[in-house]
Amino acid sequence: MSEVIDRPLRDDEKPAASRLRIVDCDVHPSLRSTDDLNEFLPKRWQQHLKEYGSHLRTPYLFTTPYPRSSPLIARRDAWPPTGGPPGSDLTFMQKQHLDPLDVEFGILQVLDLFIFSQQNLEFGAAIQRAINDWQLAFWSHRDPRLKASILVGQDGTDLAIAEIERCAKIGEYIQINVSPRANEPLGRRRYWPIYERAQALDLPLGIHVGGYGGHPPTGGGWPSYYVEEHQSNAHTIAAQLASLVIEGVPERFPKLKIVFIEGGFGWIPSAVWRMDQHFERFRSEVPHLKRKPSEYVRENFWFTTQPIDEPDEARHLRALIEWVGIDRLLFSSDYPHWDFDDPRFAFKTPLTEVERKKIFSTNARAVYKF
């Protein structure tokens, strides 16, 4: 947190002067319109999209959760001058984000069309496939810094596997993305075929928190306020971390890399301490776990940084980073959303050059093998 700012920017704060060379693990591209998908979507599903649209596992019909704080949850300065929603214009994204912040690699996270919550699994798979192709054609092939993920809905596991195989053959995708809120907790066996393929292909599993999956976002039910709901990303991810670990996913797939995106990391220490403590007491309930939960968390899981909790004292953030582990954190900006983090100012705590480099680049490079 800063005091009054009353000075021109220092040279090292000026975008052009900085050589940040960052890997940004959470960049949101948007469709300009669903017509963008036409070339990738069979006529049958184009028609379906027009006539029936999304059928979702949420209690809301045609009430999108937007605006959540800001129209399209976007930064107010991120609307492209050419029109279209934030994140839909590559040139503007380059000018506003990739170039000035010296993004070496940016990992695309697509949220359009409630992609993971489609109840019609075949329609969902068709949309996912179209979006996977669109990511390459509209983004990665036009700017090789931008990396695409294989988006699949894990509830249609056979469809997901087919799509993973198709994309893996193309060879340009850097992770497999599944829903943070599937029909069941993510550790359940019905989803294991996906984890098995991810391990075999050595592709990290990306789980971008948020959205609506039909379950109330908190254990206590549906919140009244957006500010309350926004908190729930941390609960959701903590529940999914526990499910994955305790059901034995990393035990069964020891080489599987799992990246939680947009969940922050402030909640991790107590969640992990509690799991360890209970593991000691209730080992006989889960004898399939050969190690303490914290050991799996330290080996199989990574967490992107945004949104960063901002304690009043910088040293508390520092302590938190140390507890979570400097090698577990991957920088993410969440561009162009309203809670975007600027890599120059977001970490309001001292880091050594080596630590900075790890969080802003080398950790992600190791996970994604750039």
Binding site: E3, I5, L9, D339, D342
Partner: protein
């Protein structure tokens, strides 16, 4: 403190703003309800450009269920994380003791008055019949 003529009043219609560079500082001048306010164009949190801030009302609630709007258009809501600042003095409503946006004194003067004084803008030919916005930095 030097005085800088930054615009003619007609150049910043009510509800809009203009960004000017004064001595290397990016300063944004807002026009709200007939008044002009000048602030550094950077949010003290992560540096968002305040020219894109929403100009909102102060919304308070003396008790649950009772809401009061006041000072319509005079509060800046940062375009990124939504911290709110008082346009009049840069005061933060988020953490008033620690955070503030630098604000600068603004005056509006008529062209004929300006012509008498030493303040002749280089970039603005001063017309006698117009009024000008002057920021002190």
């Amino acid at each position: 403190m030097a005085r800088h003529i930054v615009a003619s009043t007609s150049e910043i219609p009510p509800g809009s703003n203009k960004v000017v560079d004064i001595a290397g500082r990016d300063i944004v001048v807002f026009h709200v309800n007939g008044e002009f306010f000048a602030l550094l164009n950077r949010c003290p949190h992560e540096g968002a450009p305040l020219e894109k801030a929403a100009c909102v009302a102060r919304l308070t609630s003396p008790e649950p269920g009772v809401y009061e709007r006041s000072r319509v258009g005079e509060m800046l809501r940062c375009p990124w994380h939504g911290w709110e600042f008082d346009m009049r003095n840069g005061q933060s409503w988020f953490d008033p003791k620690r955070v503030k946006v630098r604000s600068y004194p603004v005056a509006v003067e008529r062209g004929d008055e300006l012509q008498k004084g030493p303040y002749v803008a280089e970039t603005f030919p001063v017309h006698v019949e117009d009024s000008y916005v002057i920021v002190e930095v």
